[in-house]
Homo-oligomer: 565 residues x 2
């Protein structure tokens, strides 16, 4: 497994062995290591000194259920700090099969000619031609037609081309739909700054990464898979998808509603997972409530959301999207939310940051709560690249700043996912202190059996979650695979030792997590972050959210001690 | 001299004696002290915890030539850090005559009812009524009609009402024209956040502040005035105004031209001070090349710019405005620049930050270089409050972020005045390291007899300038009055000792400057600023500017040592 460096200005490829200090890392941890080693922390994120890095997690490449995630990162154009955003789909798998431990896109071209990078055992740059300006759902079939079906693709939409800071990078799912987005932190803008429309990875001649001890690997895999399939939470996610969270967060008073002004939504049941499953089963056709994003995934938390005619409206329709585009905008119709999700995804934008931005726009009077038609018009402004469109496409923080709205749900400039931190305070600690900015995948605490509104003890809870998640993100393991590993934690070192010939112990998950967080904080410190950035916005400490009527009141001392382990 | 606190929510006034640690300070230094003592550095700048503070300098109140400036400050809505912006006119004088050492506006109202604060020996809140939405040039005559002529006024235009971050606070000049703007850092937005349209200070019953030793004061005043009037630089500023700088900066290759892409402008002579004087003398009527902004000022660097019919187009037309709205936009016609300056000033906006924003908009293709008609249309967008108008009115940094332009001339989010820092590197050090963000009045180095393109020694030069200017800003002394004091520095302690009964020495200017800078940096550190913020934008370290073909190459080590004195 080598390091592939592609210079986007000279269009040249350099293949190098992995430096020793990189070898025990993958995914999020490796990204942080590379950023600390190679990217000047104060550099302009959309300039030549920033790098766009693809690093599969340590477990990626073997179709272990839910363990083939690709981490994508660089200095964030959105937050100005460290950024890792990971996705399912096939990019991780493909990249390991052609022997890449990390793919690093460097420099930027002097001209504005858009390119496709075609990777196999070599690299070719090809003009993007008339793909420029196309949404990801139109561009992808054309790429598949040209490059064949044995490819993975990471691509950007018009949002990334416009270098909008809420732009992500879409990856193909197992059915070759560009639906698995590395959404957060503006990495699509970073890819756009290097004038790369798509990276096509032909892995038809590839092979699985080598395994040192096949027998031990298979044994551990079997134990893990059995544990995963026996998990009751997994059964729920399989049947209902992430949308099952709607009623749970609504119950806790933590479902963002009308611009985070309330924590419960009248229409919650209509947009929840139970109702979605009924709709999809009734509609049939292409509709599917249980769909895998990665080959071999047994969880299948994804879905295909079909319209009344059974034809796909969007795939997938996830909880965060429903929260930010649904309840957050006062919209209680899943069909409407599905169409909005398709539009934003086609632009290659993050539904969380754009959904939050639309909630800010509503506060500024640009759209009424519940008016999906007007929301759709606003998304069209983004596609047209109008000044208003560029405001929204740059995310919630910029939208608030320009439109003069104080009540913006962000930390470190990144929008909050669909858990109001005043009612789930441990997740608020994660939002505040994660080096990534507000991100539920960095340490969601909603499943802990504690009183979520008690400010005490939340910092400890968040710390544990942040360490574990940084570990899982370094392994390339899906957040839900943790339900499997949690019951049989010995399979983590067993899998790593069998694959790499290592001799690591059961603490490896936490060790990797702590190392990753330490590196990320080191990068952020050099970039100019301080404890002043580890805070929720002031209005959330002042304005109670119904029905809990809680403010965010975890002490600053607790926040500042999250990383003192 | 007391501290007056006005709570803008409860509409109540509290008068207190000055705390001991505040007594030796005034102006900029006192603002910094109050911010450190009372304003949480991480607070939302447009929220209830921020305070808007008016503090006259220590020498203010006696019509000493050019020594009656008012410092206005708070946590900056533009930079997020400490902010002091000072202005001439009559506000400083008036405020001392009714016995105020510092006026502190606190809290913010719960409703959106705009108020006028009427100050005399008490405070009255009066509804702003139909003044809301009016430009400062229309609102002021109405205020004068209502409150009489023995008033000073500090007011905001529509820009401040919209809480745009490039909004300043206008003050009346000696002819009661609202032309003396505390422009930088968005203080107009801060005043707008408290829903105050204007502060009217009736000083008809006021008296000069007491003087301990009248004889000594008059003697020192005489020596200082004589020195000032004998200064050759002052004679030049008297005749030509600040516009005399055009040819000087053009000579050094430091005149911002077409979005800081060049340092010399073809049309420099047409927009320079020499040509302006000829035009104004020829036109006559209200035109006046030598106009005082403060009563008693003998420098008279201000002007009244009349049109072909001799009627006022704008007053004043200053160098920074000419640089940012003229050469920076490729406009070489002073009449056009004068009209644009009137429009931006009427909105109560900073011509520097808006001019820089328009240069960014030109790079984004929204206006061609030299097209004053289109620039005027863009300014109308600001007045109309359209999304594009709000982008521009929030200043250059926001405009660059939204429109996707990297080449934005800012530090700490504040636009650079009209000295390209690549050709005048000492001023670049000031831009980079000043706690205020890019600001020429914090330490301009252009008059030093050194090679301005040599990176060596610039940090020392900037340090000296920054200390002196922080001192002068604490005294309430105009930047040009320094030409007078420099030849007779003993008059500074003499004036202070005579007025206050103190016993300070000739080092007092530097002592006050260092104390002020230390306090400002303390506030910024708590607000989350680090050395990463003490940098010029990356593109200025990479892109040479013609004709010197210099980049900004002062070492980071030098930058980080500016405050190690």
């Amino acid at each position: 497994m080598n390091i592939w460096r592609i210079n986007t200005r000279t269009q040249s490829l350099t293949i190098q062995p992995s430096p020793e200090t990189w070898q025990h890392l993958g995914g999020r941890g490796l990204l942080a290591r590379i950023l600390v080693d190679e990217v000047p922390a104060t550099c302009e994120p959309l300039g030549a000194k920033n790098k766009l890095i693809f690093a599969p997690g340590l477990m990626v490449g073997h179709r272990l259920s839910s363990c083939d995630r690709i981490s994508i990162g660089g200095k964030s154009p959105l937050t100005g700090g460290v950024k890792e955003s990971n996705a399912g789909g096939t990019t991780g798998l493909a990249i390991t099969h052609i022997g890449i431990k990390a793919l690093i896109l460097e420099d930027k071209p002097d001209d504005d000619e858009w390119q496709i990078i075609h990777l196999s055992d070599a690299v070719e740059f090809e003009p993007a031609g008339d793909l420029v300006g196309l949404g990801v759902f139109e561009a992808t079939p054309r790429l598949l037609e040209k490059y064949g079906k044995h490819v993975a693709i990471a691509l950007i939409g018009p949002g990334g081309e416009m270098e909008l800071r809420a732009a992500g990078i879409q990856n193909l799912d197992k059915d070759r739909i560009p639906s698995r987005i590395a959404a957060r932190g503006g990495l699509g803008a970073l890819m756009g700054s290097k004038r790369i429309k798509a990276i096509v990875i032909d892995f038809s001649g590839g092979v699985k990464p080598p395994i040192t001890d096949q027998t031990a690997f298979r044994a551990a895999q079997k134990t893990y898979s059995k544990s995963l399939m026996g998990s009751p939470q997994i059964a729920t996610y399989h049947d209902y998808g992430t949308a099952i969270m709607v009623n749970m967060t609504n119950h806790f008073g933590s479902l963002p509603t009308c611009g985070f002004s309330e924590g419960q939504f009248e229409g919650a049941e209509r947009i929840g997972g139970e109702n979605m499953r009924e709709i999809l089963l009734a509609r049939g056709g292409e509709s599917n409530p249980s769909h895998a994003c990665m080959p071999g995934c047994t969880i299948q938390c994804s879905n295909v959301y079909g319209g009344e005619d059974g034809k796909t409206l969007v795939s997938p329709l996830e909880y965060e999207t429903i929260g930010l585009l649904g309840s957050n905008l006062g919209i209680d119709d899943l069909d409407v939310i599905a169409r909005l999700s398709w539009e934003i995804s086609d632009l290659g934008l993050d539904t969380i940051d754009v959904g939050a931005a639309l909630g800010v726009a509503a506060q500024a009077g640009l759209v009424d709560w519940g008016d999906g038609t007007r929301v759709s018009e606003l998304i069209s402004e983004i596609r047209a690249g109008t000044p208003l469109g560029r405001i929204l496409g740059n995310g919630a923080a910029t939208t608030g700043r320009v439109l003069g709205v104080e009540r913006v749900p962000v930390t470190k400039g990144q929008a909050m996912p669909a858990y109001d931190p005043r009612a789930i305070k441990g997740t608020g600690v994660t939002y505040a202190t994660s080096p990534q900015g507000a991100d539920h995948t960095c340490g969601l605490t909603i499943r802990a059996k504690i009183k979520h509104t008690d400010p005490e003890g939340q910092a400890d809870l968040s710390r544990g979650g942040q360490i574990s998640m940084a570990g899982y993100d370094t392994l390339g393991v899906c957040i839900f695979a943790g339900f499997g590993f949690a019951a049989v934690p010995e399979t983590i070192p067993a899998l790593l030792n069998a694959r790499y010939g290592w001799d690591v112990e059961e603490t490896i998950l936490q060790e990797l997590g702590r190392e990753t967080l330490k590196l990320e904080r080191e990068f952020n410190k050099s970039a100019g972050f301080t404890v002043a950035d580890d805070r929720l916005p002031e209005w959330m400490t002042r304005e109670p959210v119904a029905p809990t009527n809680e403010v965010f009141d975890v002490s600053e001392e607790d926040l500042d001690n999250v990383f003192n382990w």
